[in-house]
Assembly symmetry: C2
Homo-oligomer: 338 residues x 2
């Protein structure tokens, strides 16, 4: 059994804790939190051992009658791998602590690439990450871009690609963030950071990325345009490639998927926990080739898509299992069909 | 004096009526409305002669103590040109009436191109439209695309272009329209209708357009990617071309224009009526050339951008003035700086 700790119990940490608990080869040793809020209460109700993320928060938990099993330091002594799910840039500050104790950690995409030896998307570079001590799971948008572009590149070759990302303004519970009635250039300069981030996983893909922030909470929506090396490729071949790839869900607009809203409604109808969609979602009807350039729309559930990557990254760090085998275990445990 | 009537007093009609009133060579003979609402009241307060758009609405105006000068038929007898600003597809139904009376009409972009002899954007094809009896002013998005692409094509040559349009979901007063929390594919199929519509004005531009609908009310936001024939072009040359073009406003993100919201706020600060922006608005910081492809963001005020085109289309139909002269008169009367 791989003994796993999760440092941080926010959007990603909560989901990774559940996903780790669902693995037959892993044991969730505990999770950490700073504040004694409803999320901490839910962790205790799930019987997840709760650790105070800082010394100073121990008292706060006691005041709120929440039993903690110790502090982050106590948790680190008991685990084989720590998944850092703390806010952006906090992970890097935690690294020293991990180096001195566990020696093996997974960071999220909010950290700069230098925090780890490998930036990771399971179906793109699992073998490269195998046996590394520090792995960075890239952000939600980068994960989706890598899955889709890698699939096209492996099958048909990509000469160059362009991505326009309409980002959700905030997660559903982030009530203090905007925008309410504006499209924000994120940033006004082109390219956005996503292109460079894709290159941390797929160094050979030429990509220009552009990002906007819009007043939605549920998904990012990508518009992709890729020039293909193989100019004879048909739309059906592209559809087949996406249908065959793991962690890509192909849907059709004329089945009722007119927007991101119906996609999330599907996840609810499927009984997915927290309406999570671990797959990059591609609209079949949008796949259109014009003079050697393939165009399509892709939806990305920002809260969920990196969850399977975190699970696979744990196995990559341990180094015993192949990528194919890990992806297969993760998929079946999380209800990912292919 | 060119005697002008405006049939319809909604989003476009109201603005065109004001713009016509501001021209030294035109006289607004009257406007029509179906319903006796606050917009009709405002027309009367502005001393615009009000005509009932249908026979049946005459009574409704009387009931609401609003004095009408007659019906649309009475208006048509007195004008040299009628501007049809009725809802999508209603213009085509009105055409027969115009053929039998005035013989010269301007339609909006919601009509299919076949309604008129020429689809029109003043700085692109004024001379082609000169002397036509029926002119169609293209939609807001198509107008902006034509202004920007024509500028690039004239200066540097366009090999092919791609546009991703994040459309405002509804105008500020359209409270029954959505979306509230979703990105809608508009439609899921690629391309959207905009590419074909651009070709009604600029037949030689190869364009693939893609459109999304987002929960905003104030502006459309375009992301444009154009492959240039002249591969030696620099970003500064593109900026200069946009700076020189009429009805294109170049702004800078680092001056505080982080989103569409600040652009509309600028229009309010400039004292523009109804915060109208007649210009296509291009972010200077976004102009980026990567291996012969120029990328940039452009904002489009959907309610206002076609107003100067309607004024110029009136002069094109009369046929006495050149495009250059008409554009110059329209610009100075509306406060368009260049």
């Amino acid at each position: 059994m791989i003994r796993v700790g999760v440092n941080g119990y926010g959007v990603i940490g909560r989901r990774v804790a559940d996903a780790v608990s669902a693995q037959q080869d892993m044991k969730l040793i505990g999770v950490t939190k700073v504040k004694p809020d409803y999320k901490a209460r839910m962790a205790l109700e799930k019987k997840y051992p709760l650790y105070a993320a800082t010394e100073s928060s121990v008292k706060d938990f006691a005041k709120n009658s929440m039993e903690v099993s110790g502090t982050i330091e106590d948790l680190l002594k008991q685990v084989d791998v720590i998944v850092d799910a703390s806010p952006d840039d906090v992970g890097a500050k935690n690294k020293e602590k991990y180096v001195e104790t566990v020696g093996r950690a997974i960071f999220q995409g909010g950290e700069s690439p230098g925090v780890a030896e490998v930036s990771f998307v399971a179906q793109c570079n699992f073998e490269k990450a195998r046996g590394a001590k520090f792995i960075r799971v890239v952000s939600c948008n980068t994960t989706a871009l890598c899955r889709a572009l890698h699939t096209i590149d492996e099958n048909f070759g990509i000469e160059r690609a362009r991505a326009v990302i309409a980002r959700r303004g905030a997660d559903p519970d982030e009530t203090s963030k905007g925008p309410i009635d504006a499209v924000v250039l994120d940033p006004a300069e082109i390219p956005s950071h996503h292109a460079g981030d894709v290159n941390t996983v797929l160094p050979d893909i030429k990509l220009v990325s552009m990002a906007l922030k819009v007043p939605t909470t549920h998904m990012h929506l990508h518009t992709l345009i890729a020039s293909l090396r193989d100019r004879s490729v048909t739309e059906n071949q592209v559809i087949d490639a996406f249908e065959e790839a793991t962690r890509i869900m192909v849907i059709e607009g004329h089945s009722g998927f007119k927007s991101t809203a119906q996609v999330i409604d599907l996840a609810r109808e499927m009984g997915r926990p927290r309406n999570d969609l671990y797959e990059a979602v591609i609209w079949k009807d949008s796949i259109r080739i014009v003079e050697g350039e393939v165009h399509f729309y892709m939806g990305v559930h920002q809260e969920a898509i990196v969850v399977p990557e975190n699970v696979d990254a744990i196995r990559a760090i341990i180094g015993k299992e192949s990528g194919k085998s890990s992806i297969s275990s993760t998929n079946s445990s999380l209800g990912i069909l292919k």
